[in-house]
């Protein structure tokens, strides 16, 4: 009972706090008079550096070299293109799943250890995050090569050498490491806001640890999971440098094929069409996820509300 009391009062305090933030009074009113102006810089930036290029790409895909759907017909009639598109999605899925499996316990550990431990764990995520993508990818190249550290260690215990570099495995390892911060950080942000007393309450009411985790903790951490996995998945779809350097041409992803068209063949229409296909496929997928989430969220709310 004591636990429950604590919970309700904590919830109440939380709600009270939220209300106070939402009604800061007249200062906010003044700020609200011209909210549009505050958006303008970002909007201009988006128009100039996102909307305009995307529209140019779409336009090119429909007009270069001749007006019509030729570039899209080419994309969908060339079996190699569809293979690459499918490979891009499966590789991204692997990266997302593995990154989630690694990041979830890591982010949880960040919330569970003491202050010094948390600083160390945070640093371990942030230092690579701040390091140049090229540097990290080259580091993986050195680590994963046949005569590299990983294979030497594996060899010393009688395993390997394994083919790591210039394989899909190598690409997935590299991309997972590069993209993990995008999962760890949102997960940590959400997890650090979860009241662990809820889990304790579940335990005190007789839930076994696994049940307490799946029924209480996991649903509460879902916003972080969704935000992080979406970010990682979408970033993977357009990843260029890491797969280009760690993979073999046989494992090329769509971004590399786009580069081939744009920079090697100077066929910008085809490159544009590939970009449009990737964009549309991504939007459809994200839309489906959002739809699925909307369908499941109300149920969770009913079950998860204190």
């Amino acid at each position: 009972m004591a636990v429950l009391d604590e919970l309700t009062s904590a919830g109440g305090a939380g709600r009270g706090g939220a209300v106070a933030v939402a009604e800061p009074g007249t200062a906010a009113d003044r700020r609200r008079t011209r909210p549009g102006l505050l958006v303008a810089p970002a909007l201009i930036l988006l128009l100039a550096f996102f909307v305009y290029p995307v529209l140019t790409m779409v336009w090119r895909s429909l007009t270069d070299p001749t007006p019509g759907l030729g570039n899209f017909v080419w994309f969908f009639t060339e079996p190699a293109n569809l293979r690459v598109l499918a490979r891009t999605f499966t590789t991204s899925l692997w990266v997302t799943v593995i990154a989630l499996l690694l990041s979830y316990p890591y982010a949880y550990a960040m919330t569970a250890v003491g202050r010094r431990g948390k600083a160390v764990l945070t640093l371990l995520v942030l230092v690579p995050f701040w390091t140049s993508l090229m540097v990290r990818t080259f580091a993986w190249q050195v680590l994963l090569q046949d005569t590299g550290v990983v294979n030497r260690v594996l060899g010393s215990v009688g395993l390997g050498p394994l083919a790591l570099i210039r394989t899909e495995t190598g690409v997935i390892i590299g991309m997972t490491q590069v993209l993990m911060p995008f999962l760890v950080l949102p997960l940590y942000a959400v997890m650090s806001g979860i009241d662990l007393r809820l889990v304790r309450a579940a335990r005190s009411l007789g839930a076994r640890p696994l049940i307490a985790f799946t029924r209480v903790y996991l649903p509460l951490s879902m916003p972080g999971v969704v935000a992080g996995t979406l970010m990682v998945f979408i970033l993977s779809l357009g990843f260029y440098i890491t797969p280009a350097l760690l993979g073999s041409p046989t494992d090329a992803l769509i971004s590399q094929q786009i580069f081939t068209q744009v920079s090697g063949l100077l066929r910008w229409g085809r490159g544009g069409a590939m970009g449009v296909v990737l964009l549309v496929a991504t939007l459809v997928l994200v839309g489906l996820v959002a739809l699925a989430l909307r369908r499941t969220t109300p149920g969770q709310r009913a079950g998860g509300a204190p």
């Binding site: 090569q145 920079s263 090697g264 910008w268």
Partner: protein, 375 residues
């Protein structure tokens, strides 16, 4: 919420955006045309430029960066700038898509561009303009290397390097052995850049299959791909020159087909490899001038200066690439001079490639090559 006010900032943003883009395109359209340039009377003399002729003119030289472009800068463009009075800045790396964007938008800021020679031939009169041989003196360029739209920037070789600790007693003698994985077991590296099918892999595969060096063209790509596919389990693909060198230095491959400059770099760094010069392919970079440069005459003058004997000798000393002026006498150590591809002895070992045929068939070859790599 002040709903009615919302559209205004949006309109403002759109207007600002329009101003931005219009401003940018206005700048692009109305660049000042180059000043009247007086390069002096008579045809150009290679390696020279009239003193102060280009005073105050801004020019951009574009190449592939690294030690190579630094060498070009020290050997040629800086000295050209000092003598002509032009202000030459370096940019890079060469990016065909960027060049195309500049030409198409009629806003060309790259005056002289170092490109692949096949690409230069393929883009002649498209993205590149014909060179003016009344300004560029081509009398010292080796036979046939100066074309309508390009002159060579330097020469090098596409060579076979092998691990001498592994094959030292019985080294591979040419491309036949390179593709013979039974007689010479082990991994071999070849170019796997799908955007860049250069003369090289197809030719090597055909030579290995018994095609005579003078019967290579037109290339039988299907036949070449059969040879390549048969060796594929042993092949390691490199995508950049640096990677090919790294593969030798880490000892990951037992043989490699790579650019001579990269083989040199690896051997110089102590990698236990040797080059089999028999059947090597002489290749080169090209100097080109995009269509629509603000001052074509100045670009031609820079190229003419670049080709001078002293400049070429210095370039070779700095980069180990071979000179493209027959009078150039670089001072080199033994290892470096063994990498000079323009000597008589080396030329006898060379299998010439047909860059003109490549240029004419580049699109088809690129499609073939990237499809084979991706299969």
């Amino acid at each position: 919420m002040p709903e009615a006010r919302r559209p205004r900032p949006v309109l403002g943003a759109v207007a600002a955006f329009a101003v931005l883009t219009l401003g940018a395109s206005a700048c692009a359209g109305s660049g000042p045309s180059g000043p009247d340039i007086d390069l002096g009377a008579g045809p150009g003399q290679v390696g020279t430029v009239k003193s102060g002729a280009l005073k105050g003119l801004n020019m951009t030289f574009v190449s592939y960066g690294g030690i190579y472009q630094k060498g070009q800068q020290d050997a040629a463009t800086d000295r050209f700038a000092a003598e002509s009075g032009a202000n030459v800045v370096q940019d890079g790396p060469t990016d065909y898509a960027k060049l195309k964007a500049q030409v198409e938008s009629n806003n060309v800021s790259w005056d002289v561009v170092d490109t692949g020679s096949v690409w230069a031939d393929a883009q002649c009169d498209k993205l590149l303009q014909p060179l003016d041989y009344s300004i560029i003196d081509k009398s010292k360029i080796p036979n046939g290397l100066a074309t309508k739209c390009s002159v060579p920037a330097m020469q090098y070789g596409y060579v076979l390097a092998y691990n001498k600790t592994k094959f030292g007693g019985n080294p591979p003698t040419g491309w036949k052995d390179f593709f013979d994985t039974a007689k010479f077991p082990g991994k071999r590296a070849i170019n796997g850049d799908p955007t860049n099918p250069e003369p090289g892999p197809y030719e090597a595969a055909l030579l290995a299959d018994g095609v005579a060096p003078d019967k290579l063209y037109p290339l039988d790509t299907a036949r070449a791909e059969r040879v390549l596919s048969a060796a594929r389990p042993a092949l390691v693909f490199w995508k950049t020159g640096a990677e090919s060198q790294q593969l030798l230095e880490s000892g990951e491959v037992d043989m490699a087909m790579l650019w001579s400059g990269r083989a040199y770099g690896a051997i110089k760094n102590g990698a236990p490899y040797e080059v089999q010069w028999n059947q090597f392919f002489p290749v080169m970079d090209s100097l080109t001038v995009p269509k629509g440069v603000k001052s074509p005459k100045a670009a031609m003058a820079l190229i003419n200066y670049y080709l001078g004997a002293a400049q070429q000798a210095k370039l070779t000393e700095l980069t180990t690439y071979s000179p493209v002026n027959t009078d150039a006498k670089p001072q080199l150590d033994e290892l470096t001079s063994s990498f000079i591809t323009t000597t008589k002895a080396r030329q006898e070992q060379a299998v010439p490639v047909d860059a003109t045929w490549w240029a004419a068939n580049q699109d088809a070859l690129l499609t073939h090559w990237s499809a084979w790599l991706g299969s």
